[in-house]
Amino acid sequence: MITIKDKVRAFIVDNFLFGDTSYELADTASLIENDIIDSTAVVELVAFIEDNFGIAMVDSDIVPANLDSVDRISSFIKAKAEALAA
């Protein structure tokens, strides 16, 4: 079964690492500090989350605390999805 984390990771590898699977991207690695995303890429990341998980992100959601690693993004999506379902 494809998990949220798998989808997030695949998106990051395809879009920001251009399919380079040799890059060892830890789930907790900072996307900013490791130069994986820049300010333009944040917009791409937000569009990916909204388009693929049916989540509408407000400005206060778009912060590194929610989006700066595979783990953080996955947790953020899960929490949002649970809130929507509740």
Binding site: F18, G19, D35, D38, T40, A41, V42, D59
Partner: protein
């Protein structure tokens, strides 16, 4: 302005070799060609006649025949130097600045170099002392490259002339490539070509049969950060600045042909154009590039300024597809991979000047380095400000003020602003503090390097290499002066004056002149207190003050808009040119061996489908494409392998 080539040592078929070398750079000097061959030394010259049109042929020998010079550039204070020499009894046979150098060298040897106010590179064959002397101007306006082969020193204004020497071939220097993909330019004397070097700015090389020595005759310097400023009154400083700039323009109007001016619409070129318009009895001719995209276009300001000057104004439109159309030629002339397309519109612009029948233009280049105009200076100041209170939620908002022309940044949260501009903020004593985010962001494009290239580089760190070359006094300077030094001594000659400057202008036989790089002005600006240059977040404060009565307020008071051109989107989409597809195909990338073919294919596709790419993706796209074109042009590697496959 011209081009030259030559050698020192024993070779065969000297005349034929010089002819081939000069033919390779004939675009630099379409008016005349000349050769000089002596035992163990030879010089060839392609001339663009600007001063002493009838009697300035080169190579030029002195009366004794012992000194022979090949010279590229202009000595702007040649009339004053000539007068001094004549007062000492020296007689001149020509009206050229070339002969002035010969006499000065005859009197003083290489000690004459600090007297020259000019943009120059030259070679003097000193037959008496059996030595070849190569020299280059202080700021690195005019180029000079060299290499050694079988004990012979070869040199030329452009590398393509050196590639005419039997046994010398083009091979990419992987360290230089890493430097370009981090710092935007190779660190001199390294060039993109393995074993081919440039003579560094402000340097002289003396080659004898026994040894080759290189020494600097001038250093860019700043006062100790704690030293009391020598200039404290802004009004006095602005007045002195205006006088110096005015004289710098006056000297650079010296020519036996009309002198035009580039007009970007910004403060610097407007100021130069305004001063020039006041000094010429003719109607000043101005030249500008316009863009389709509003984010790059400054035509409203250009038109306003040209109208205020009563100039004859010509423009060339850089439209969708134009950059891609000229890019292979841009790389052929730049002779190196580049990570930005900005040289391409300047290539178009010099073509426009040529069509108008002019050979010489003034430009405003150099003011941003000398008077602290670039965003990077303001950014570093805000980063320091943020670094002192990392928890502040207000301070990072200043980053939005720095980049009003970047809509993506305006939308970022404080947390993201803080994170994106946070690189190195904690290390306030880092010598590269000002440039660390730029270098880090650019180096992110190295994700596309192939495994083989990474293995060759063995973890090489271009930024640390740059640090190792900084002068001892660097750490004693004010942080703004440290940042200015990095821009002025490294990026200015390494990219702005070369890839965007000399090489793009000379591709069409056009000589650019840079009043802001007059050595008197550069030294004056170095002595100014930092706050006179960057006052709060207002860049070039003292220059704006000096321009008060010369420019319309709309021009004088506008925030600097950095010169940029459309990047990856210039090359992709409908109408994509065959050479782009070929150069970036998996087969071509694999054949080149420098990049990861699959990743490049994905990047290409991403740029096609998501035109609003970020800095890293744009830099990577342009850098990879230009590297592929460089390989094809200089090594003959066929990038259209995809078609054959």
């Amino acid at each position: 302005m011209c081009g030259f080539g030559g050698y020192f040592g024993s070779i065969r078929d000297a005349e034929a070799l010089l002819a081939r070398m000069i033919a390779a750079i004939a675009h630099r000097g379409p008016d005349e060609q000349g050769k000089f061959v002596a035992p163990d030394a030879g010089l060839g010259h392609a001339r663009l006649s600007v001063i002493g049109i009838g009697d300035g042929q080169q190579p030029m020998s002195d009366v004794s025949g012992n000194l022979t010079i090949a010279f590229n550039g202009e000595i702007f204070n040649y009339l004053e130097l000539r007068e001094g020499l004549m007062a000492k009894g020296r007689r001149f046979r020509t009206s050229s600045d070339t002969e002035v150098i010969l006499h000065l060298y005859d009197e003083m040897g290489e000690d004459c170099l600090p007297l020259l106010n000019g943009d120059f590179a030259f070679a003097i064959w000193d037959n008496r002392r059996r030595r070849m002397v190569l020299a280059r101007d202080r700021m690195g306006v005019r180029p000079l490259f060299y290499t050694n082969k079988d004990g012979v020193l070869y040199f030329a204004s452009e590398i393509k002339a050196l590639l005419k020497v039997p046994g010398i071939s083009a091979e990419i220097d992987p360290i230089a490539l890493d430097q370009i993909f981090t710092l935007w330019a190779p660190i001199a004397p390294r060039t993109a070509f393995r074993n081919i070097y440039e003579l560094e700015p402000a340097s002289v090389m003396i080659a004898t049969q026994e040894e080759v020595t290189v020494k600097r005759y001038w250093h860019l310097d700043y006062p100790h950060r704690d030293a009391p400023p020598k200039l404290t009154n802004e009004d006095d400083a602005a007045e002195e600045l205006q006088a110096l700039l005015s004289d710098a323009v006056r000297l650079r109007m010296r020519a036996d042909v009309p002198v035009g001016s580039y007009l970007s619409g910004g403060l610097d070129s407007s100021l130069v154009s305004a001063l020039a318009a006041g000094m010429t009895p003719l109607q000043l001719q101005t030249f500008s590039v316009t863009f389709d995209s509003t984010e790059h276009d400054e035509s409203a300001f250009q038109t306003e300024m040209a109208s205020a000057l009563g100039a004859r104004h010509r423009t060339i439109a850089c439209q969708a597809g134009d950059i891609a159309g000229v890019f292979p030629e841009v790389i052929r002339f730049a002779e190196r991979p580049i990570i930005r397309t900005a040289p391409a519109p300047l290539y178009q612009l010099s073509g426009l000047v040529r069509q108008a029948g002019l050979k010489v233009v003034l430009t405003g280049e150099g003011a941003d380095e000398v008077f602290a105009g670039y965003d990077i200076f303001r950014e570093a100041r805000v980063r320091r400000f943020c670094g002192r209170q990392p928890a502040s939620r207000m301070r990072p908002k200043l980053f939005r003020r720095l980049y009003p022309y970047l809509p993506g940044l305006q939308q970022q949260s404080v947390e993201y602003l803080s994170a994106f501009f946070g690189a190195g903020n904690a290390a306030l004593d880092d010598p590269l503090f000002s440039h660390r985010p730029r270098f880090k962001t650019t180096a992110a494009a190295k994700i596309f390097f192939s495994g083989d290239l990474r293995a060759t580089l063995k973890g090489y760190d271009a930024a640390e290499d740059l640090v190792s070359r900084l002068p001892q006094a660097f750490s004693l300077w004010h942080p703004l002066h440290q940042a200015q030094f990095l821009e002025t001594s490294f990026l200015l000659p390494g990219y702005i004056l070369s890839s965007q400057g000399d090489r793009m202008a000379m591709a069409h036989g056009i000589e650019g002149r840079f009043p802001f790089l007059d050595p008197r002005l550069v030294e004056f600006a170095g002595r100014l207190p930092p706050e006179m240059k960057l006052k709060g977040l207002v860049e070039k404060h003292i220059l704006r003050k000096a321009a008060k009565h010369l420019l319309p307020s709309a021009i004088r008071e506008r925030t600097k808009q950095p010169y940029r051109a459309p990047e990856a989107r210039s090359f992709v989409g409908a109408g994509e040119l065959d050479y782009v597809r070929d150069a970036l195909s998996e087969a071509s990338i694999a054949a080149g061996g420098l990049f990861n073919a699959k990743a490049v294919a994905n990047l290409h596709e991403k740029c096609r489908t998501q035109p609003a790419s970020g800095f890293r993706d744009n830099a990577a796209f342009v850098g990879i494409l230009s590297t592929q074109l460089w390989q094809k042009n200089f090594t003959g590697q066929e990038v259209s392998a995809a078609r054959a496959a």
